[in-house]
Amino acid sequence: MKFAHLADVHLGCWKDSSMNELGTKTLEAVMRKVLEDQVDFILISGDLFDSSYPPINVLKETARILRHVREKGIPIYIVAGSHDYSPTEKTILKVFEEADLLVDVYKASDSEDGKIKLTFTVDERTGAKITGILGRIRGTDVELYRELERESLKKEKGFKIFILHNFISELKTKETQNYDSFPKSLLPEGFNYYAGGHLHIPTPESMRKGPLKSTSPIIYPGCLFPTDFGELESGIFGGYCIVEPTQNEGVLVQWREVHLIDVLPLHLSAQGKPLKAVQEELKGLLKTKDMKGKIVTLRVDGEMSSGSPADIDFRELTELAFKREVVNFFRNTQQLTSKESVVIQPAIGFTRAEIEAKVIRENLGQVKVTAWDKETEERVIKDLLEKCSQRRGGDQKVKDYDAEKLDLFLKVLGIKQIWEEYNEG
């Protein structure tokens, strides 16, 4: 017996369609490899799709890929994950199952004592008995594990596989310590292999270093293709596992990294630098690195000494990146601030007028007008606001309304004459 185990493909997770294409291409490449490995069946531990209603192009491609596998006579066993599960069961997975593209092994019913009884799906060729529990949002599938009828699962004879889409607490590391998880004791005992999904980091770490021989291991192959900026940037790639039972009741797990395309992570700290310097350094970064055929991620952080993040010409930088033949270019400026950024404090007052007055007073003097003192400025702002709030009359034409508004503004600002002279000249 030999089977493949993959998880967290998250097809359709990118807004960028070219990234979604890369995702389906990655799945196709993996399926090609596992067919070459002559596996007997394939397990997918949830989140094949990023949602229960993925984009149509993604669906078409996935159906084509899975159809090819099915035509080779290789079954695909899955559970729904926290993303492609639907509480109303209106998930595309059901359609795919009806089309015989895959088999959902989560088959639950009420037992006599009110517990959840799972039924095994038996692989015809190998006799392997497969069952599992679907994933739900925020790990709420843990409730299903608590109510599980365990004895019958434990007593079942034969080679047993349990597919889960949740993280096990005992496997936490420093990097994953804040992840939702549940204790290993909630898993049913006595299975030969626990096919994990949901955790995007390949776990245990030891299997990344070489083949792993173990009895009843809990294995997370990692997400097949990065699903967000952070995963692209991290450089940690997921993969899939080829699993074979060994003679003395354990299994041999061979993890294979999937690395279809290189990612070049770039980082610039803008700490204490003026806008112009940041722009130049970013350009320099993009000019000097070899990025042809790669996905480039650019993280910019720190507090700029002048200018604002919005002033950085990222369009120019993006064009530059694509001129250097990147496959795709992503940026992250969430931690980029500047000295000029204003920290927004809530304005407190009992009436709207009170709050408006407070906000106006706090922001006086930002735009320097030599002819105005603060009192004049405050009065002008209030007058302008009042004029702005007057709506267009029902039968007033837009053109007339605009002209009236302009006239009001010019009068309030005291520049009507200047405006008219300017237009005449």
Binding site: A108, S109, E147, L148, E170, F182, P183, S185
Partner: protein
């Protein structure tokens, strides 16, 4: 209402009452003396025989009866001549007005010949449910239990420390299970229950896991290979250890220096380096000292080595490939107001002490940080429930730099409190005992232990020595800064609490056929 006794003599803390014939007044019973505008509640602390017949005459009469000498012996009007004298003290005076009832500390005596009656539920309706109530039991009058719940203010009692002194078999574990169960889903208080007998969770039999919301609010850590569903394996990565976690043990100066040398040389692998015998003579660590450290680590941490000096962790909760986040997870749960049980029943005492120190140190460090950042008010109180408390806050160890001593002295400032359970309160320094502002006193036959409790109580219990000695299983007295008087209670059996507890609702199974 029936008058069962009458004030005949005595003084402020020793009111003598003559018991009415055929009435039975018990030790610890609550009696009520009514007066205009209110009533006093008194508690019986001693009973003596009283008689109008001289002692020698009574002895003669008894001898004649016992030896069956043929004399017609009958006492005339026996109910007048022989009686029981009841010794009582005032607990509280309750003023009654249109505005309601106002309890006050008593400062006067009931009138001469005031009649006393048994207490009724209505007499105690001035007892209000505490804010953030922690249920501890029902009011007890002698052996009679009144249907009035006694609650203590949870947000205060836990951070002001609690002492539960009792000898074996008096109901300490039952008490802990009762108040934890009743408080399980209250997130204003996180509780760390160090369980040396694995009796709280309910692995065999009933326990806190039977609570309908246990899956949400209760976590159970155990080093056992076979865990009940929901139990979490107790493993701690060795890199979480620090030299100061080992302060609960004695080290010579050379050994302490060696510990820190290894720690400073490699902060992640210092424990492994010691156990596997990595040479650090270049930093001044003698080989002899290293061998001592290796042996001590084997004893204290359960870490061993093979003939090739490879580390063996199989017999230890300290691992090199697991347990990275255990301490963080436990403190994280506590900071969410959950109740965390750590089963230490199969751990050696030294490993248990180290583990407890690691967890408590992390809690303390976190809360100190929150206080410095002005965020402490948002955090729940954390109560650390500890059996055999003198191991960590006893006279012998309090001089050392140990985190439990720090919590005992300063924990209140940081909303961290100890719930110290012990048979030997006399082993705890007086200043620590005095700081434990709530004492739930169960039965104790040992005189010196009762003295230690009485001397540090929040109310005057100087007359209660005999009462404490005679407390039966489940009977207790609460002496607390947060009660108006020392409250006699009966702690219900945990099994009875379970019977009345709400059951878990069954949810629909998704995708079920």
């Amino acid at each position: 209402m029936d008058i069962i006794g009458q004030v005949v003599s005595g003084g402020f803390a020793e009111i003598l009452i003559r018991q009415k014939h055929a009435q039975k007044i018990e030790l610890g019973e609550l009696l009520v003396a009514d007066y205009e505008g209110g009533y006093s509640i008194l508690q019986v602390y001693n009973l003596k025989y009283g008689s109008q017949i001289p002692q020698s005459t009574r002895e003669l009469m008894s001898g004649l009866q016992l030896e069956k000498v043929n004399v017609d012996m009958e006492t005339m009007e026996p109910q007048l001549r022989n009686y029981i004298l009841v010794y009582a003290k005032s607990l509280v005076n309750v003023g009654v007005s249109e505005k309601g009832k106002t309890p006050k500390i008593p400062k006067d005596l009931p009138e001469f010949f005031t009649g006393l009656r048994r207490i009724e539920i209505a007499d105690l309706d001035f007892l209000q449910e505490a804010e953030k109530p922690v249920y501890v039991g029902k009011i007890r009058s002698g052996s009679r239990v009144l249907d009035i719940d006694v609650t203590l203010p949870g947000d205060k009692i836990f951070s002001h420390h609690i002492l539960i002194p009792a000898t074996t078999g008096r109901g300490k574990s039952n008490l802990v299970k009762v108040f934890t169960f009743k408080n399980l889903s209250e997130t204003y208080c996180g509780m760390l229950l160090i369980d040396p007998h694995d009796e709280y969770y309910g692995v065999k039999g009933k326990g806190l896991s039977n609570h309908s919301e246990a899956s949400t609010y209760l976590k159970y850590y155990s080093p056992r290979a076979s865990l009940p569903p929901g139990g979490i394996s107790l493993a701690v990565h060795v890199k979480e250890l620090r030299p100061w976690h080992l302060n609960v043990f004695s080290w010579s100066d050379a050994q302490t220096d060696a510990l820190y040398s290894y720690y400073n040389a490699d902060r992640l692998k210092w424990v492994e380096n010691i156990v596997t015998g990595v040479d650090l003579t270049s930093k001044g660590v003698k080989l002899g000292t290293l061998e001592v450290l290796r042996r001590k680590f084997r004893n204290y941490l359960g870490l061993d080595w093979d003939e090739n000096n490879n580390l063996i962790t199989s017999r230890s909760i300290f691992k090199v490939d697991a347990g990275d986040s255990t301490i963080n997870d436990i403190t994280g749960f506590l900071e969410e107001g959950m109740k965390v049980i750590v089963d230490t029943s199969i751990l050696s005492e030294s490993t248990e002490l180290i583990l407890n120190t690691m967890i408590v140190q992390r809690i303390f460090d976190n809360y100190k940080g929150y206080k410095a950042d002005g965020k402490l008010e948002e955090k729940p109180v954390i109560a650390i429930i500890l059996e055999e408390a003198p191991r960590v806050i006893g006279q012998k160890v309090m001089g050392e730099d140990n985190i439990f001593g720090t919590i005992a002295r300063e924990g209140r400032k940081f909303k961290i409190g100890l719930v110290a359970i012990t048979q030997l309160p006399s082993e705890i320094p007086r200043e620590v005992l005095a700081n434990m502002n709530t004492k739930i006193i169960l039965g104790n036959e040992m005189g010196p232990e009762r003295r230690a409790i009485i001397d540090s109580a929040s109310q005057d219990l100087s007359t209660d020595d005999r009462t404490i000695a005679s407390l039966d299983t489940g009977e207790a007295i609460i002496s607390s800064n947060f009660t108006k008087f020392a409250v006699p209670i009966m702690i219900p059996l945990f099994d009875d609490i379970l019977k009345d507890a709400p059951k878990k609702l069954k949810k629909a199974i998704p995708g079920a056929k």
